[in-house]
């Protein structure tokens, strides 16, 4: 099994603060992490490799620092990593991003000398939050897809996926090659060890450029993106709601019940 995992380096959205004066995101000092959903995708890939044999390759498109995210992946089970970087790629929306990644798949297959049987993505990246790159990558490649995977296993050249749905899950299968996007797994992703971190540090991470990808740059970056971000604003979070504190439970509860029924909320 040759498995490709697409990972994005994202700011840790737990750590993002809003500047109270300018009402913009304060990104300085916010740590960059591997997109949490991608850590599940990687863990799924590594578990499948351990079960049936094969290789796990990770790719990330981003600035030079995104190599750090790839190092992290190498320390928790990925066998090889490629960084996709270049000014042509900046500002890509999901259509352009997935177009670029579809070329990356071809280029890495050539370098690794074998086609990928399975391509894994996270359900969504916690910065852009669109959940569109996985399905669009599948479309560019003409592959079947299963999204919202909660568990996945490979058997006899097919993949079985528990897909999250309203009242439980759907058990789905598809033949390989295929694209699967992962929400979570029954187990948490593994941690690196000191040894695996050292080993990861030593591994080279080749950089793929627009030239390496032989890609039509008119379909990349801002130029190649049909959607445009017109404006952004930060929603006001502080509601200044009323908080009942320091009262015995029965008094507090009675007060709240009266407030809510008077206001016809309940």
């Amino acid at each position: 099994m040759n498995i490709l995992v697409c990972v994005k380096q994202v700011p840790d959205t737990n750590e993002i603060k809003i500047d109270p004066e300018t009402h913009t995101l304060v990104r300085a000092g916010v740590p960059s992490i591997v997109n949490p959903f991608d850590t599940y995708a990687l863990e799924a890939g590594v578990q499948i490799k351990e079960a049936v044999g094969g290789k796990v390759v990770v790719v990330s498109m981003g600035p030079e620092q995104a190599a750090d995210a790839l190092k992290t992946c190498l320390s928790v089970g990925a066998d090889a990593a490629y960084l996709v970087s270049g000014r042509e790629f900046g500002g890509s929306d999901t259509l352009a991003t997935s177009f670029i990644l579809s070329h990356v798949v071809k280029a890495v297959e050539e370098k690794e000398g074998a086609p990928f049987d399975l391509i894994l993505c996270g359900k969504q990246a916690v910065d852009g939050d669109t959940a569109q790159v996985g399905p669009e990558l599948a479309e560019h490649l003409g592959l079947p897809q299963i999204t919202y995977a909660m568990d996945l296993t490979v058997e006899d050249g097919a993949i079985q996926v528990k897909r999250e749905c309203d009242e439980g899950y759907d058990l789905m299968t598809t033949s390989l090659p295929a694209v699967v996007t992962v929400v979570k797994l029954p187990t948490e992703p593994r941690y690196p060890t000191i040894r695996s971190k050292m080993a990861a540090k030593k591994k080279p991470i080749p950089v793929l450029t627009a030239e390496d990808l032989k890609i039509d740059v008119a379909r990349c970056g801002l130029k190649g993106s049909p959607t445009k971000v017109k404006s952004t604003y930060t929603p006001s979070r502080e509601k200044n709601g009323m908080k009942i504190a320091g009262l015995p439970a029965d008094e507090a509860a009675a007060q709240l019940a009266t407030l809510l029924t008077d206001a016809k909320i309940l």
């Binding site: 993002i16 259509l95 789905m172 049909p226 009675a254």
Partner: protein, 333 residues
């Protein structure tokens, strides 16, 4: 470019012959957009035995409906639904396509927009028309709800977006409203549907319809155990509410995933959301901040959930909830 493209479409998702609410909800804001633009609002219904859904869509505000029926559309599959919607768009050339941001909508939407080489704005919570450009201004939360962005698709048609369930309310049902139902015969061969649904596993006895609930009572790690949820359930039963939970609860195995609210669970926007023993992590808040009224019960005065709550009680939920039940019963008696 845009001359040939006209009308606003709302995709009304169905499964097993039943419509998901979000399709009907979206007809309401889409009606306003269509009136502003002076164009037609068309509902697109793909499913098995779903003519009644097409009729309902007209009663909820569509001028007309396009109907595709077939056995292959009984259950959702990416290949069948993406193919059908793509062919319809190619033939009729709508100017705008709006899709509910359910799991299936977000699975199909990008497949279709990519095949059309057009833009798709994800998971929107507000829709408007940009006076200057005439484009749809799609507004959506990003960075886990920390940043709202307004997106436009100026150069490609159709302009497409997925919109969250439960953000818009359905318009009143006009039983006597009529409109044309256009049948389109599109079939997808069995072997062109590459994914197979082997089994649908219901993990929960009762149907958990968080997205359509008016009141949700949610429990977090503070509930302490699966047994602790009896207290949450008692309050929910009293209020006619649906039970939700945080991811910590699902991870601990106290509740099935179908109840989870948040970034990797359901996005909900009920009239009332009661968060009990939930700290208010951004991933949880992302899934419930659209609720009309948020009530928090937490023993930690500093818990971030109080920042988004309209009403809060600082206290032990096992004391507060029973006391609240008693007080509420007294008032209503």
């Amino acid at each position: 470019m845009s001359e040939a493209y006209q009308n606003i479409w709302v995709f009304v998702e169905t499964e097993c012959g039943k419509a998901k609410n979000v399709g009907f909800e979206l007809l309401n804001p889409a009606r306003e957009l269509a009136d502003k633009k002076g164009c037609k609002l068309v509902a697109v219904v793909i499913g098995k035995d779903v003519e009644h859904v097409a009729k309902d869509a007209i009663c909820y505000g569509a001028d007309s409906a396009i109907l595709v029926e077939g056995d292959e559309y009984e259950y959702y599959s990416t290949d069948a639904f993406a193919t059908a919607l793509f062919e319809l768009i190619q033939k009729h050339k709508p100017e705008t396509v709006i899709i509910g941001a359910t799991n299936n909508g977000r699975d199909m939407g990008p497949r279709v927009s990519c095949r059309l080489k057009t833009g798709l704005t994800a998971d929107c919570t507000a829709l408007d028309i940009d006076e200057e450009t005439g484009c749809i201004a799609w507004t959506r939360p990003t960075f886990g709800g920390n940043l709202m962005a307004t997106i436009e698709c100026p150069e490609c048609r159709p302009q497409m977006g997925t919109v969250r369930p439960a953000v818009f309310k359905k318009a009143p049902y006009q039983a006597d409203k009529t409109g044309e139902i256009i049948r389109e015969d599109i079939h997808v061969a069995a072997d062109a549907i590459r994914t197979k649904l082997v089994e649908r596993v219901k993990e929960v006895a009762e149907a958990v319809n968080l997205e359509e609930a008016d009141i949700i009572v949610s429990g977090g790690r503070g509930v302490g155990s699966a047994e602790g949820f009896a207290t949450i359930r008692e309050l929910a039963d009293l209020l006619g509410a649906t039970v939700g939970c945080s991811r910590a609860v699902v991870d601990a195995g106290w509740m099935p995933h179908a109840h989870q609210v948040g970034q990797s669970g359901k996005t909900v926007a009920p009239k009332v959301y009661i968060a009990c023993g939930i700290s208010g992590a951004i991933q949880h808040v992302a899934g419930m901040s659209g609720s009309d009224t948020i009530i928090a019960i937490n023993k930690d005065e500093e818990a971030p959930i109080f920042e988004v709550a309209d009403y809060g009680i600082v206290g032990n939920l096992f004391d507060v909830i029973p006391a609240f039940i008693e007080a509420y019963k007294k008032i209503k008696a």
